[in-house]
């Protein structure tokens, strides 16, 4: 975003904070697609993503006065979105899936770089997205926060409620699970845990 665009965005935010509905509409129109896509990646179904997007923007509108203008707006939006989605998923997870601490204690197989390269060569973006749907909630969320929202490890730790030093483990674990699903080895695991 160039300086002029940034200035325009700041102005719209200020107008929206003072209650200007048009400015809010403009902000919404600009950012809703990205937030929807974020939710689409983080949540198990399209319907969940739609509902979550609406709820997130309702929250954002209510909290707009608390937004610190020195912080990038989209980063703030992603934080609200991530917290909302993770909160939803966590509430469901309590009763639903089998992913808990035991997964973290499983040893990670050291990858053969050649095989990993082959795996990457063989699979398209669409296949990766489909495989992501089968990941447990936290693994998927971690990947989305890092590789879609480009959040820092600190932000990811804050959102997922884990220690900062543990974020790398979560991400690496998620990559391993994804590789297993792409190789077809993770199908049984995914079926057992179900889409969280």
């Amino acid at each position: 975003m160039n300086p002029a665009e940034q200035a325009g965005l700041r102005e719209r935010i200020a107008q929206a904070q003072s209650g200007n509905a048009d400015a809010w509409g403009e902000l919404y129109r600009l950012h809703a697609p990205a937030i929807f896509r974020f939710c689409r990646r983080a949540m198990p179904t399209r319907e969940d993503a739609e509902d979550a997007t609406m709820d997130i923007f309702i929250k954002v509108r209510q909290k707009l006065s608390q937004y610190d203008v020195n912080r990038p707006f989209s980063a703030w939006l992603y934080t609200v979105a991530a917290n909302h989605c993770w909160d939803l998923l966590r509430r469901r997870k309590v009763r639903q899936d089998l992913e808990t601490g035991e997964v973290e204690n499983m040893p990670l197989e050291h990858p053969d770089p050649g095989q990993l390269e082959q795996l990457i060569e063989k699979h398209t973006s669409q296949q990766v997205r489909r495989a992501l749907d089968h990941l447990p909630a936290r693994s998927r969320m971690a990947l989305v926060l890092r590789y879609y929202s480009e959040m820092s490890y600190d932000e990811i730790a804050g959102t997922l409620g884990v220690r900062r030093t543990f974020v790398g483990v979560v991400l690496l674990r998620a990559r391993h699970q994804l590789r297993e699903i792409l190789e077809g080895r993770g199908a049984a695991n995914a079926a057992a845990g179900g889409p969280a």
């Binding site: 509905a21 809010w24 509409g25 319907e47 990993l116 973006s125």
Partner: protein, 536 residues
């Protein structure tokens, strides 16, 4: 050579490794081919992940494009409640208040009104059946709509769901006259010799029809006397009603005391504290009566059905008789040409000379037994109601999943749908009163509106139940079975709660207002869905 592990490589790539360790790893990678390959593979994997996640593979749904610009900001709450308060005041001041005055004028005020409403308990008992009928009608409406809409795969089911039944009902009911003659005054009189070539609506303390009305007569008065001729129906809300003339159509009488002395061509429906058909009275069709007392000395050519406290039969009943009440006395002058059934807590008294086609079949209802039975009946009624509501909910979820989700989401807002529901209820009553009593838009539209409201009212419980289930078991949306399970649990709680006296009633009042508000908001949301491309 000691290699770096995958974790260290990933942290290095992500810029998360301490400086000294990062330098160490960089130096190592320059020398070590396997670690270099691993680093390269991880980097490619990161790119693949970023690419897969950020790729714009599907359009943003239309409902997300329009709603936020006109969302529900906090001031809408205040506005909704302010509107509700204003509407309530207005309805009371300009609607209910004057009508109550008119009711008082008509002799329905205070205890009279209560006595007329309760009819020694008979009227209230009838409500159970009415509610059953409404439930069945509502369920049928949902099923028919669902089948029709699935078949046609219409794009806007919600809007069609609203309009279609209204059209059907409007078509099914006979059309009303576009305009009716309205007469108001302290004493409305249609003198003998005068003919009104139209429907007549008459209001005032006293209404007397000595002349001819070529159409329907609709009356709201304290004292009604008809000695003339009405070619259509008579619909009367009157303290005292005397029909001494000729009515070619039906007589629908809501009255404290109704006396039929003349001739009614078709059927009589009477809600009255007491009803009398004098020896001169002649009803061409049958009679349906909800009354505290009935003294039937005249001729009823077809069936007589009623919930009547005390019945005296002195005249002719051309068809069957079915009466539920306290006592039945059949005089020696009486003649019943069809089978007769009486349900009461004592044997009917039949005079020696009475002509009966067959002995009166009597079912004695003991008070204690009745009370127990009524408790059992209540529970059975709840079970049936629960099953029907669950079925309606499952149908809705299967056929209109989008509408279901959208409405359930609105239900979660609690306060706003409650406000909207209350507002709709007040407006509904007002429109109904306007439609039916003032006939600004006709009886058909009024009844259609009321019947349209019934399915919405019925579905209210489904969404509140589903919301409750979600609150208890947690939200889910991936498995239909789980969604239905939550709905079933919530509905079960609501139906069990209904069995609690007073509290159950109050709970259901809230449930109905809350749910109808949510359904209406769900309709609103659905009506805004359109397929539009992703904005640039």
């Amino acid at each position: 050579m000691i290699h770096f592990d995958e974790m260290a490589c990933l942290l290095y790539l992500e810029g998360q490794l301490e400086d000294s360790r990062a330098r160490e790893l960089a130096a190592h990678v320059a020398e070590c081919a396997p670690c270099r390959y691993l680093l390269h593979a991880l980097e490619r994997e990161s790119k693949l992940l970023s690419g897969a996640l950020t790729e714009e593979d599907e359009a943003i749904p239309a409902r997300l494009l329009g709603v936020q610009t006109q969302g529900w900001p906090s001031w809408v709450w205040s506005l909704a409640f302010a509107a509700f308060a204003a509407a309530s005041y207005w309805v009371w001041n300009d609607g209910i208040g004057p009508w109550l005055d008119q009711l008082n004028n008509a002799g329905f005020g205070g205890t009279n009104l209560m006595s007329m409403m309760l009819f020694s308990g008979a009227f209230w008992e009838g409500w159970g059946d009415l509610v059953d009928i409404l439930q069945i009608v509502a369920l049928l409406a949902v099923v028919i709509l669902a089948l029709g809409l699935v078949r046609r795969r219409l794009r806007r089911p919600a809007a069609v769901a609203l309009v279609l039944p209204a059209l059907l009902i409007a078509l099914a009911l006979p059309p009303q006259a576009g305009a009716a003659e309205v007469r108001r005054g302290r004493a409305v009189l249609v003198p003998a010799g005068e003919t009104i070539h139209n429907d007549l609506i008459a209001t005032g303390p006293s209404v007397r029809i000595d002349g001819t009305v070529e159409g329907d007569l609709i009356v709201f008065t304290r004292e009604l006397t008809v000695t003339g001729h009405v070619t259509g129906d008579v619909i009367a809300f009157a303290g005292q009603a005397l029909i001494d003339g000729t009515v070619d159509g039906n007589a629908r009488v809501f009255s404290q005391h109704a006396t039929l002395q003349g001739s009614i061509g078709k059927n009589v429906t009477a809600f009255a504290n007491s009803i009398t058909v004098t020896p001169m009275g002649n009803v061409g069709g049958g009679m349906l009566a909800f009354a505290g007392e009935a003294d039937l000395e005249g001729k009823i050519r077809r069936d007589l059905m009623g919930r009547i406290g005390r019945s005296d039969l002195d005249g002719l009943i051309g068809g069957q008789v079915w009466i539920r009440g306290l006592t039945l006395d059949v005089a020696s002058t009486a003649e019943i040409d069809g089978p007769a059934t009486f349900q009461g807590n004592q044997q009917p008294s039949v005079a020696a000379g009475a002509k009966l086609a067959s002995p009166i079949r009597t079912e004695i209802t003991q008070e204690v037994g009745r009370s127990r039975r009524s408790e059992t009946r209540k529970v059975i009624h709840e079970i049936i109601g629960y099953g029907a509501a669950l079925l309606a909910g499952i149908l809705l979820l299967t056929v209109f999943p989008g509408f279901y989700r959208s409405t359930l989401r609105e239900t979660g807002a609690i306060g706003l749908p409650l406000g909207v529901g209350a507002l709709a209820f007040i407006s509904g009553i007002f429109v109904f009163v306007l439609g039916v009593l003032l006939l600004f838009i006709g009886v058909t539209a009024g009844v259609a509106g009321a019947l349209l409201y019934a399915p919405i009212l019925y579905l209210a419980q489904v969404f509140v139940g589903a919301w409750l289930g979600n609150k208890i078991l947690g939200v889910t949306s991936t498995q239909t079975g789980a969604v239905i399970g939550r709905m079933a649990l919530g509905l079960l709680i609501l139906h069990v709660a209904r069995l609690i006296p007073v509290l159950g009633g109050l709970t259901w009042l809230v449930v109905l207002l809350w749910g109808t508000g949510a359904v209406l908001m769900g309709f609103y949301r659905m009506s805004r869905v359109e397929n539009v491309p992703l904005p640039a």
